[in-house]
Amino acid sequence: MDTSTIQQYTAKDFKSDQYVRWCPGCGDYAVLNTLQKVMAELGVPPHETAVISGIGCSSRLPYYISGYGFHSIHGRGAAVATGVKVANPKLTVWQITGDGDCLAIGGNHFIHSVRRNVDINVILFNNQIYGLTKGQYSPTTKKGYVTKSSPFGTIERPFRPAELTFGARGTFFGRTLDVDLKSAQMTILAAAKHKGTSVVETLVNCVIFNDGAHNWLSEKETRYDRLVILEHGKPMIFGKNNDKGLALDGMQLKIVTLGENGVTENDVLIHDAHCEDSTLQLKLAMMEGPEFPIAVGVIRDVETESYDEAMTNQIAEIQAKSKIKTFDDLIDSCEQWEM
């Protein structure tokens, strides 16, 4: 792409006239702003942009984007988005969803859209709580956490969205933190450019029902000690002073400190998001604190034929071969007789 081209759109072009109604301080605002910036940078005009959602706080987002939007029903955003994209592959289709919408009621549609590799960009807002129904635990709520529907702590094991995505043979997985705008923008842009289902888990804060769920990560002073921003082809270096790195110790990841015990940048792993084999990518996606930093950025990004592309290709192939070109040909093709 010629980078000298002047950007045709600004974030403002993707703002609708609707008043944004999230709670003050909600992490969703940051994602909305990032998304509008990415849309502008991507350069797809608003009328070729379709934003589809299910139900939940984050699923209100389509109302705030100036393109075509469809706020559907709980859990079904992935299916609706699939229909939109397969019907018109020229559209850029975004699916906006939350941890309850995507992974509980919509779990089936989520894994199957990922499996099919429909070219949609899934922005999964993970605040580990049901916000719109006012504070019940979700499939990503940490075990033991007290919510209105788990007054004595949840006894459920949470899902990890990365694991589900990888398990469904996902071709793209990225993660962002609401407050780290730069890496978020980079990740969401890469997701939009990826052909196939792109899953971006955005860690967002619910100020009302689960305030501080990601605090360990978000706190300014320690943020970059606890976060590793992965970029394809670059060494996995992190830390406020860029002095920590990830390396392999047998089959396991370990943290090394540059300059200690003769460790240099050469000992640090280089991120390969394009590697077919997802073993290392999954390990990176599954890192948890406090031993490890949390990985954000593009963790996996492999190219393969998308579902909508395969559908278009198969239709073209059959149309070239078949003698049936029109409805009347179809009628002529059937066993028939004069009466």
Partner: protein, 614 residues
């Protein structure tokens, strides 16, 4: 040959029965198609178990295919069989009640042995006496297995494959019995097995031997001829199942509307054929997504509708239940969507392969909120084409979900279909937002018809946000305003009600001055019409008003119903349409209901009507 009597028949019912692996569906289809080519009217009804292969020779595995051939207008696959073909004692036992007095039973002697009797639960070795039919029917025993084996002697086939052809021996015998030349059957077989020459050769050999067997043995039964029908309009015909006809109706509608056809669906008996038929039609640009579940089937389709295509989903009762919320979304978002429900016995999993009309109230009311949708129903297998076409036309022109009710009997049954040409079909004009309307609100609509304008993603200037939340009538913004909600509810209702300006009026068939009006809807038309005609022939005064458009009802519904003193609503449920009619046109309605997973029989209808006229 000379001592064989030939009887001319007005119409005849043949039922082929055997194990579900015996090929009875194919045999029946071939026989009905070749009869149609010879100029007969046909109506068929397959009756098969939901088990793919139940244990051989047991009652649970019996599969049947009934064919009704006629020289004049026939409306049903017939009640009792003039000829029953039974490949084993279980098939006989299941179908013994369905043989006419004086009818013919052709059975496979080789499969009427002690162990076969036991498997079918007979206590003795004389099933005919045990079933009390030995004096009332003519028996034609034929050692089908042995005869097929000797027919295929010298063929390089294993015994199992050889025996699979015995249905062709039975077909040959039936062709002889009805004086049907077998060339046409051979032509069909060539089309079916052309790519497998050895299978084709074997089938043709057995078929021919079966025919000659009848011819040479001088079996002491009379053979039959059925005159050509002279009542059908001249033209080209085929025999088509309801499911295939419905699929083709959708295709025709998409072409007429200038849109691509998109089906989101999930396999479910007895509707799956619709999806399979459309999956074949990539050459016509049809997109089919086999979804992960029923809900995904309809929501994927709704996504395609949002994107501007003619979108449909196909299902049966349990699937319709799962799709309720999404139909509500289509109502709220005012998007076009066709939902075809091929009804089966319920509730729950119920009787998956059997027929019922028990989803009517679900289709009308099975959603949360005030959620009006159009509901229509087809009469015959062939007119599933017309009603699928009309369902699409109404959906696209009135921006609403339309539920088309067919059922297992229509979906799997076949009838004659006069082949249409695309240019003979009505125009379809979707209510697109037009150039000049740029910037219009998502709720913008034609103020007379209340039809919302359809804006298609990809087109500049019409960007809108739609969804399941209530919207303000004028601005399209989200709204919980009480007065506005009332207005939107009323608007959505009026939009559906207004459609009665575009649907045909209710017709009265039979005697206009009748003492009894029979009311029916959907797939019972054939049985009701036959019974009404028979009653009138006997000098009674009886009429039929049959509904295809259920919501909205035809404009003249009340006027028609009030014309008759006595009205009986007949349906294959416990009275759902009667309940609905009472709410729309209050009055006294008698009911005749049957919920047995089977169509009405003409006989039971006539008996009931006679009772009402006394």
């Amino acid at each position: 040959m000379s001592n064989i009597k030939t009887t001319e028949l007005e119409n005849v019912v043949v039922r082929f029965t055997g194990d579900s692996g015996d090929g009875m569906q194919l045999t029946g289809t071939l026989f009905s198609n070749l009869s149609a080519i010879l100029g007969n009217e046909i109506s068929t009804f397959p009756d098969f178990p939901s088990e793919i292969r139940a244990p051989q020779g047991t009652l649970g595995g019996v599969s049947g295919f009934q064919v009704h051939l006629g020289a004049s207008k026939i409306y049903t696959p017939g009640d009792e069989a003039d000829v029953l073909v039974a490949m084993n004692p279980a098939a006989l036992k299941v179908n013994a009640d369905g043989i006419k007095k004086g009818g013919v039973l052709i059975f496979d002697e080789d499969s009427f042995k002690k162990s076969d009797f036991e498997k079918a639960g007979f206590k003795t070795e004389n099933p005919f006496e045990e079933l009390n039919i030995s004096d009332t029917i003519q028996l034609i025993p034929a050692a089908l297995s042995t005869l097929t084996q000797s027919s295929l002697e010298g063929f390089d086939m294993d015994n199992k494959t050889v025996l699979r052809s015995k249905n062709m021996f039975a077909l040959g015998l039936i062709c002889w019995l009805f004086n049907r030349p077998i060339d046409q059957a051979i032509h069909f077989l060539t089309n079916k097995f052309g790519k497998k020459p050895s299978v084709l050769q074997a089938n043709v050999k057995v078929l021919t031997d079966g025919f000659n067997y009848g011819n040479n043995l001088h079996l002491s039964v009379s053979t039959y001829t059925i005159e050509k029908s002279h009542e059908l309009p001249k033209g080209k015909y085929t025999s088509i199942s309801g499911n295939k006809a419905a699929a083709w109706g959708l295709i025709a509608a998409s072409k007429k509307a200038g849109l691509e056809l998109f089906l989101g669906s999930y396999p479910i008996t007895p509707a799956t054929d619709i999806m399979q038929e459309l999956a074949l039609r990539k050459d016509l640009g049809v997109k089919v997504v086999q979804a992960e579940d029923e809900i995904a089937g309809i929501t994927i389709a709704l996504g395609a509708s949002f994107a501007g295509q003619l979108a449909a989903t196909s299902t049966s009762g349990p699937g319709l239940a799962l799709k309720s919320e999404a139909i509500g979304l289509a109502v709220m978002a005012e998007l076009p969507l066709v939902i075809i429900d091929v009804m089966r016995g319920g509730p729950s999993t119920g009787l998956p392969t059997k027929t019922e009309q028990t989803d009517l109230l679900q289709a009308l009311y099975g959603r949360n909120g005030e959620s009006p949708a159009v509901v229509i129903a087809a009469n015959t297998p062939a007119d599933c084409f017309h009603y699928a076409f009309m369902a699409s036309k109404i959906a696209l022109e009135h921006m609403t979900p339309v539920i088309l009710l067919t059922d297992s009997y229509l979906g799997n049954g076949t009838s004659l279909w006069k082949l249409p040409k695309l240019n003979e079909l009505p125009e379809i004009k979707p209510n697109f937002a037009k150039p000049g309307m740029e910037g219009l609100r998502v709720t913008a609509r034609d103020e007379v018809s209340k039809v919302r304008y359809w804006t298609i993603p990809g087109i500049k200037g019409f960007e809108q946000r739609n969804g399941g939340l209530e919207k303000d009538y004028s601005t399209g913004a989200l709204s919980t305003d009480p007065v506005n909600h009332q207005k939107m509810v009323d608007t959505r209702n009026e939009k559906i009600e207004y459609i009665n300006n575009f649907i045909p009026e209710l017709k009265v068939e039979g005697n206009e001055k009748a003492e009894l009006l029979v009311v029916g809807w959907g797939s019972t038309h054939g049985h009701l019409m036959t019974a009404v005609n028979a009653m009138n022939k006997k000098g009674n005064k009886i009429a039929l008003a049959h509904f295809n458009y259920i919501n909205p009802l035809p404009k003249n519904t009340e006027e028609v119903i009030k014309r008759f003193k006595k009205v009986v609503v007949c349906e294959l449920n416990s009275g759902q349409f009667a309940t609905y009619l009472r709410s729309k046109v209050p009055g006294e309605y008698l009911q005749f209901n049957k919920v047995q997973g089977q169509p009405f029989t003409v006989t039971e209808l006539e008996e009931h009507f006679e009772g009402l006229l006394k």
